[in-house]
């Protein structure tokens, strides 16, 4: 079709500089309808364009071609390959001009990859897509949760973890944020980094929301279990900063988990196991059975930890009795594992089966400590800078200034302060 050929030539011609690109963008936006109506448009026309140089035009054409309904398996895999190649080679600058289109293209890509049941193919392209769409590393894009979802399905947790290491400061859509934290928490659980998982799930649970949503509910269930595994304590009340909606409703929907938590606090293994068996159908429905089993095994650890606070030395048999383990051998295995993980500091005397609990031998005077401290201080400095930037932008927020002005009017500080105008003519 002549209009398509015209379009292609204009794409090839106008992809050089930024001024040309904005002109091209306008042309493409106008031509979108005609492109959709064009039934002769084939994937082969894309061969005339180079994805790294003509990314914007390529994006539009690709979107028109692939947003159609269900496809056959061969076509779907061909499309997937094409999109993957496009994503890895496209130019980030051009993409950011039409970021919504790019995001919807990637979401379509993800759906096709999931349909093909081969999520591993989509992980690497989506990772690079996230980096290209991101304006700065502090901003959350709509692609983050999709990428994490693919990583979870493909079970490659390391790739997902690399995205999680950025500190997110700006969020566009709350739903993206909830999903990102939830999936991120699951990835961290998969990597056994429970501290970070706890942080992420905590973010979801305490995020501001008007009404409880399913993501927060699932996150809360996992949050309860991860607190048990990580810190060994359970409190029925949510943290104070959680929204009122969350505080009122989350608990009613997750009764089995609160029961597990309460039972954990008591510290008796047999009762805990009974509770778990009783609710195992609920746990299975939520896919949390594995996590629950981990929580149960962590109860032993917690009990042994409690023992270190009471006793200086203990025999392995006594430990086994107090923690309700089967025999001294198992107790020794548990203690050994905990020493290796760094959770307790102890000496096992194998001759007479005595365990001596020691203090934390960290003297904070090694050079490794210096590096740890240095990195921690750098992080705090970065955080401080971000907070100051946030503070400044808040001070210019008209909503804030309006309220401050109103408050100031009430208190008469003599004639010193002139009132802040309540309405700004912009």
């Amino acid at each position: 079709m002549s209009s398509t050929e015209n379009l292609i030539t204009s794409i090839q011609g106008l992809s050089a500089s930024s001024g040309d690109l904005s002109a091209l963008h306008r042309i493409l936006k106008g031509a979108e309808e005609t492109l959709r109506a064009d039934s002769d448009l084939q994937l082969s026309t894309l061969d005339q364009l180079d994805p790294s140089k003509h990314s914007l035009g390529y994006l539009y054409l690709l979107d028109v071609l692939t947003c159609g309904g269900p496809m056959s398996k061969e076509k779907a895999s061909e499309v997937v390959l094409l999109i993957a190649r496009f994503i890895t080679s496209c130019d980030a600058e051009q993409i950011r001009l039409a970021s919504d289109k790019f995001v919807s293209l990637c979401k379509g890509f993800k759906d096709r990859v999931l349909e093909l049941e081969d999520p591993l193919r989509g992980v690497a392209p989506l990772l690079s897509a996230v980096r290209k769409v991101q304006v700065s590393t502090k901003r959350l894009t709509a692609l983050h949760p999709d990428c994490l979802q693919l990583c979870l399905q493909a079970k490659c947790y390391k790739a997902g973890f690399s995205i999680l290491s950025d500190d997110i400061l700006e969020v566009d859509q709350p739903r993206d944020f909830y999903l990102y934290c939830y999936y991120g928490g699951m990835i961290c659980i998969g990597q056994k980094k429970f501290q970070k998982a706890l942080e992420l799930l905590y973010n979801v649970v305490t995020a501001p929301m008007h009404s409880v949503n399913a993501i927060a509910l699932e996150a809360y269930k996992k949050y309860v279990l991860v607190t048990l595994i990580h810190s060994g304590q359970f409190s029925v009340s949510l943290p104070k900063c959680a929204s009122t909606a969350a505080q009122r409703h989350l608990k009613t929907w997750s009764i089995p988990y609160t029961e597990v938590g309460n039972c954990y606090n008591e510290g008796k293994i047999s009762e805990l196991q009974a509770v778990v068996v009783a609710h195992s159908s609920d746990f299975e429905k939520d896919n949390n059975l594995g996590l629950v089993k981990q929580a149960v095994s962590s109860l032993y650890k917690r009990n042994i930890l409690r023992l270190t606070q009471k006793y200086l030395t203990l025999s392995l048999q006594d430990i086994a009795n107090m923690v309700q383990l089967a025999n001294a051998k198992e107790a020794e295995m548990h203690v050994l594992q905990m020493i290796q993980d760094g959770q307790i500091h102890a000496l096992i005397n194998q001759k007479d089966g005595m365990v001596r609990f020691l203090e934390d031998p960290e003297q904070y005077k090694t050079s490794e400590m210096i590096e740890v401290m240095d990195s921690v201080i750098q992080r705090t400095i970065m955080l401080s800078k971000n907070l100051i930037a946030m503070d400044e932008s808040l001070s210019c927020d008209p909503l804030y200034l309006g309220k401050v002005g109103r408050e100031r009017q009430r208190y008469d500080f003599g004639e010193d302060f002139d009132t802040v105008p309540q309405k700004f003519s912009m």
């Binding site: 003297q363 904070y364 005077k365 090694t366 050079s367 400590m369 210096i370 401290m373 240095d374 921690v376 201080i377 705090t380 400095i381 955080l383 401080s384 907070l387 100051i388 946030m390 503070d391 808040l394 001070s395 927020d397 909503l399 804030y400 309220k403 401050v404 408050e407 208190y411």
Partner: protein, 321 residues
């Protein structure tokens, strides 16, 4: 104009002399160009050796240096200012002799060794003054201070010139030749010079500014030390690689320098050192956390004000104080 001196004399300069010269110059410059005045070239009654001053930077000050000569070592201890007579382009002789008598009474061992001035290079006209001084001291020295502040320059902007007779165009003429010198100081002098050099602003400032000034000084000193060590290190590495021909005398000097470092590699020292280092890091970490917390507090307050729900009753508001 500045080949090396061949007289074989070693010169030792005391920091007091440099301080005196720079003080003299600064004072004259400020008097000639006071910060609050608009016209730069006023006729000021005090003529403390000011030369023809068209711009403050061209001000030249003159003075005399005194000291003692023992054998082949010339040690310059002190200096005083002289009056310069622009009409005859020479120093005021009677004034010089009067001052010399006074100084002789206080410091009996010191003699006039030469004179000083400020500028970037030695001029022809300086030779006149130099010759005039030759009847007091048969071989006077000329100490030249370059008042231009050059941050890139690491050495002192002080040069010492001697006069030697060289044959130029068939005529034996005295010209200035560069002489090398070392800085020499007595303990008492070091303390007072150090004190003067680190004068803080007169109002004392708050503890924070004083601490900041002190730390900046230490920081720049450490930076300079670091850059010099780096230069040495690169030189040695290049020698090892073979890029530069091996210079044994330099290697010996470097080795002796290293050997003279305090032999403090015992385990106890390392322990203590690391512990103190970590303590300092922890303290700065604590300071950073406090700083961060206060920033966070500000942000939270602002968010609360801006986005607070209307459900709060007016009476329970706590005033911002």
């Amino acid at each position: 104009m500045a080949p090396s001196s061949s007289s074989g004399l070693t010169f030792k300069l005391h920091p007091l002399v440099m301080l005196n010269i720079s003080d003299h110059f600064t004072r004259v410059k400020t008097q000639l160009n006071p910060p609050s005045s608009s016209c730069a070239t006023r006729n000021i009654p005090t003529t403390v050796g000011a030369g023809a001053a068209t711009s403050p930077q061209n001000v030249r000050v003159y003075g005399c240096v005194i000291g003692a000569q023992r054998g082949r070592t010339v040690e310059i201890f002190n200096s005083f200012e002289l009056v310069f007579d622009p009409s005859s382009d020479s120093l005021d002789r009677s004034f010089l002799e009067k001052k010399q008598e006074l100084y002789q009474k206080v410091f009996p061992g010191f003699y006039v060794l030469g004179w000083y001035s400020t500028g970037s290079e030695a001029n022809e006209s300086d030779m006149h003054i130099h010759k005039a001084l030759m009847d007091i001291n048969e071989s006077p020295v000329y100490v030249l201070l370059n008042p231009a502040i050059n941050h890139a320059q690491k050495d002192l902007p002080v040069t010492i010139y001697e006069s030697e007779f060289h044959v130029i165009d068939g005529i034996a003429q005295p010209i200035f030749v560069n002489a090398s010198y070392t800085i020499e100081t007595v303990e008492a002098e070091r303390i007072s010079v150090d004190h003067v050099a680190h004068l803080k602003p007169s109002d004392g400032g708050s503890a924070a500014t004083q601490l900041a000034a002190h730390l900046t000084g230490i920081h720049s000193a450490i930076k300079m030390l670091n850059s010099r060590i780096r230069v040495l290190f690169q030189y040695l590495v290049a020698m090892q690689r073979g890029d530069i021909p091996c210079d044994n005398s330099l290697l010996r000097q470097a080795a002796s320098l290293l050997r003279s470092l305090p032999a403090a590699h015992s385990e106890k020292f390392d322990d203590n050192f690391l512990m103190e280092y970590n303590d300092k890091l922890l303290m700065s970490y604590l300071a950073m956390i406090t700083n961060c917390t206060s920033n966070m507090n500000e942000v939270v307050d602002k968010v609360k004000t801006a986005y607070a729900k209307k459900s709060r009753t007016g009476g329970s508001r706590i005033p911002f104080m």
